[in-house]
């Protein structure tokens, strides 16, 4: 990993800005739901900010991502517009899916957010389809398939990796190993120590890295993205991270190892990168505060926009289901 490409100071600042947006967005989601202003199932990505932030700085706006219910970090890092995101979370007609998708199904092709799925394991075959389309059309796009450690034990994982390797698809499989699948620990569900090792079975490069280290995450993603774009095929990246919260809002995570959880929270990757950037002189304290207040103001505006918007009309419910409207 010492030979990995390293992010320069400006790139690290960009990564930090995305991470801070994800952190604050998460804080607001908790607040808005607990204030009864929005009713939604919410799966916090807190603790996993580095992964999509360090990946997306090497992606173009046209590149694709597929994500899961725990996916606001992936979407925000890719650049989904905040107002449209919040309107969709709130189920309003101004949202990315006209309020008919909700938090589990955010889709915004304009920024490359192609699917959010609640079906564990399904982001991978969908990513293959998108990557295959890119290969056939030669549009030069790469697709990122995000999924959890639990999803790596679903059949579709194995089928997708085999096919992607066979056809040398421009796809990167990013397993965000946050150590839990609902209430089940990784060790209680998986026979191998590293999911990254499984890549060998499919004849593709695979690696297990510290997904909370922005340098390593950036380097591994950059190599995989360049490789996919050059037509050399897929890569499996297992990014080790930690889920700070319970499975979803309302689950206090009482079954989680207390010490391990405290250690992870104490090593908060967002606070750590902020401190490092200031220590290294890449960011002044005033710059950091300005970034934070800017994001906070954008979130105020987005949430206000969402709450002021209308719910979709009832006769919208059957629209957009089929390409041609059924009578």
């Amino acid at each position: 990993m010492s030979n990995y490409p390293k992010p320069d100071a400006a790139t690290l600042v960009k990564i930090y800005e995305k991470m801070e947006l994800i952190r604050q967005n998460d804080e607001r989601a908790h607040k808005v739901v607990k204030a009864g202003r929005i009713i939604m199932p919410y799966y916090s990505p807190r603790g996993q900010e580095v992964i999509p932030s360090a990946i997306s700085v090497s992606l173009t706006a046209q590149d694709y991502i597929c994500t899961i219910y725990r996916g606001t970090h992936d979407m925000l890092a890719k650049g989904v517009p905040l107002k449209l995101l919040w309107a969709e979370l709130a189920g309003r007609v101004t949202g990315t899916c006209k309020g008919k998708g909700g938090p589990m199904h955010i889709t915004h092709p304009e920024t490359g957010v192609m699917v959010t799925t609640g079906v564990v394991g399904s982001s991978m075959p969908i990513a293959n389809g998108l990557a295959w389309a890119s290969q056939l059309s030669g549009d030069g796009r790469v697709t990122i398939a995000n999924f959890g450690d639990g999803a790596a034990n679903i059949g579709a994982f194995h089928e997708s990796l085999n096919m992607a390797a066979l056809w040398k698809l421009p796809v990167i499989f990013v397993c965000q190993n946050n150590r839990y699948a609902e209430h089940t620990t990784f060790a209680n569900s998986t026979a191998v120590e590293r999911i990254g090792d499984r890549a060998a079975s499919y004849g593709m490069p695979g690696i297990t890295i510290d997904g909370n280290d922005p340098d390593v995450m950036y380097g591994a993603a950059k190599i995989a993205i360049d490789r996919a774009r050059a037509g050399e095929g897929p890569t499996l990246i297992e990014a080790m991270t930690y889920r700070f919260n319970g499975h979803l809002l309302g689950d206090d995570g009482h079954y989680m190892d207390k010490e391990e959880r405290q250690r992870a929270i104490a090593a908060d990757p967002v606070a750590r990168l902020r401190k490092r950037l200031i220590d290294e002189g890449a960011l002044s304290e005033a710059d950091a505060v300005r970034i934070e207040t800017d994001i906070s103001a954008q979130l105020d505006e987005a949430i206000e926009f969402a709450l002021q918007s209308e719910y979709p009309a009832l006769d919208e419910i059957r629209r957009d289901v089929f390409a041609h409207e059924l009578a």
Partner: protein
Amino acid sequence: MAYEIILPKIGFSMNEAVFSEWLVADGGTVKEGDPLYAIESDKSTQEIESPASGTLRINAEPGTTYQVGDILGTID
């Protein structure tokens, strides 16, 4: 304008909750983010933080069941 304290939906299958207690007295001063009340749903007790700062006006009564969306009180 008074800020309504609404019973939130926290948890996939929660539709109602038993109001356990107020953690601040009627007429007391509350600060956004500080624990405000406790509810019991799906057999677990949860403390909910105050959604705003100001003076608390209480409606909800301990032991009573409320539906998601019900107004438990206001903050002036």
